[in-house]
């Protein structure tokens, strides 16, 4: 155990580990404004998408354009391969694919199927997210309190993220067997890192005088951790948890392939990838649902952050 006296000196060393991406959180804004701005950006992307197709896509042949009864025939002046209907389907075709049956003769629509798959993947991701966050906080707590551990293991924590997850995933599956456990571990693997780094920074963020103050109360190390370090780290944690939320979903999707879990989005992506030539809309629809899942998870963490930090002063670092 290191003395709290020396603990104050090492603030800078923990901060230097902090990756540029872990910025102190900006606090309390209206929830509606970011939602509106996201919607606006999505709208702009949609418009750009369709305008591109208008300029360089395949010919538009609509006798009844989107149910308006208007005939619309248009021959784009340019022909760009990347903007063809196969590469970049019309947005309404992607939308239409969502309400069509997932397979010929199936009861379930593609949308229903994908939402089900997304919920399944989310379940894995949430477990991985929770485990990763827990491991991250525990590791950071150890590193902040035991300098030897920090010196010994932090380089490996960083190196762990240099291994491509697609290379590591099959190894994890071989080790743990096919199934949801392997998928959860892969999601955990992508989650714990940002949380570790941010928590290290957050746990060492208290003012040195705050630690002296606790020392003057003859507070135990545990009390200092529980009453000062951990609460002080919460804004930092949320910054990392927002990154971890989307990372955990990416991890789960990647893991589902080698993990042999057929119910989630990972397998859907692999399947629709194979059917891309005949039905590109299905893969695009899957991408859409996967992104929506990531955004939803992120937004939920953001809402939790706003609730938990609602009374806090802005954190200056």
């Amino acid at each position: 155990m290191r003395d709290p006296e020396t603990a104050t000196e090492r603030q800078s060393s923990a901060a230097s580990v902090g990756v540029a991406g872990v910025e102190p959180p900006s606090r309390r804004r209206s929830i509606l404004r970011p939602i509106a701005s996201v919607a606006l950006v999505l709208l702009a992307i949609g418009i750009a998408w369709q305008v591109a197709k208008l300029i360089g896509g395949d010919p538009w042949r609509y006798d009844d354009f989107l149910g308006t009864g208007i005939a619309f025939h248009h021959n784009p002046p340019l022909r760009v391969a990347q903007l063809s209907d196969r590469q970049l389907p019309h947005l309404w075709d992607i939308g239409a694919a969502l309400v069509q049956p997932v397979q010929r003769g199936a009861q379930q629509s593609l949308g229903e199927f994908l939402v089900g798959a997304a919920l399944y993947t989310w379940r894995e991701a949430i477990i991985g997210f929770g485990l990763g966050a827990l491991i991250g906080v525990v590791l950071a707590s150890l590193f902040v309190h035991f300098r030897l551990l920090e010196r010994a293991f932090v380089p490996y924590v960083i190196a762990s993220q240099a291994i491509p997850i697609v290379a590591l995933a099959p190894i994890i599956v071989v080790g743990l067997g096919r199934g949801i456990v392997a998928v959860v571990i892969i999601a955990t693997y992508l989650t714990f890192f940002p949380v570790t780094i941010a928590a290290m920074r957050g746990l060492s963020s208290p003012d040195p005088r705050a630690l002296e103050l606790m020392r003057s109360y003859a507070a135990s190390r545990w009390a200092i951790f529980w009453k000062v370090r951990l609460p002080a780290s919460v804004p930092y944690l949320f910054t990392a948890l927002k990154i971890a939320a989307t990372a955990s979903i990416v991890g789960a999707i990647i893991g589902e392939g080698p993990g042999g879990v057929p119910e989630g989005l990972g397998r859907a992506i692999i399947n629709f990838n194979q059917q891309y030539i005949t039905g590109p809309e299905k893969l695009w629809a899957t991408i859409l649902i996967a992104s929506l899942l990531g955004i939803t998870f992120f937004a939920l963490v953001r809402v939790a952050e706003a609730l938990v930090l609602r009374n806090r002063q802005r954190v200056d670092v």
Binding site: D207, R209, E212, L213, A232
Partner: protein
Amino acid sequence: MTNTSAGTAVRLADVEKSFAVQGGGETVALQGINLDIGAGEFVSLIGPSGCGKSTLLRIVADLIRPTSGTVEVNGKSPHRARLDRDYGMVFQAPVLFDWRTVEANVRLPLEVMNVARSEREQRVREMLELVELGGFLRHYPHQLSGGMQQRVAIARALCFQPAILLMDEPFGALDEMTRERLNAEVLRIWARLGTTVIFVTHSIPEAVFLSTRVVVMSARPGRITTVVDVDLPQPRTEQTRETDRYYELVTVVREALRGRLPAGAQDGPAALDGHPAKQRARAEGGIG
């Protein structure tokens, strides 16, 4: 705890502190410090930057250890005194926790010390009444002014009824008006609780107005040059700041800080009557 309680609160004998300097060598932060502070006294430490007054306070608080010499706090080692929660501490910055309400900030030491829940609430309330913040229990620190935040810090330092209050330039960051108001408040609290106060400051008027004794220090190495007895009558009020004796003592302390009054501080003031330094004291008001 009363002002008249007998005994020595803090005893410093031949205390020395040196710090290792990067690249070899060391600086002597404190040298030959001998000082006894009686229970119930209000002692200010004043001196230029680098004279080691904050270091001295930290040694008493057992936040750092002296290189040599003897330190006793309430007749115990500083370490024992810290474990016994014999002192409360106030820094220049309030160091409040932004996730805790005013009430919860004051309660923090009581939580750490495992004081019973019912007693906690009562003491927190009492202390916040004492610093006249009874109406701000549920506020968050950032909703308060700097002066109010510092009063919360004082309430927090006093809520576990320590025998000694250590204050490290507590009002250094506040404007003059707020500082004077808080000076009066600290005196009122001191009179009421009888806590021994050791008060580090840059401000000569503040030191003279508050203290029973002013310890004047010089830098490189940090030493005590003079100890000025402040015989202004208690209780001190805003009128005290207007008296001749007050100005005399301010002058004495200022001259001591300039190294012009190496000895005989006690009989100095009379000789200084009508001295031009007295007018300067009015004009300058302080060095900080």
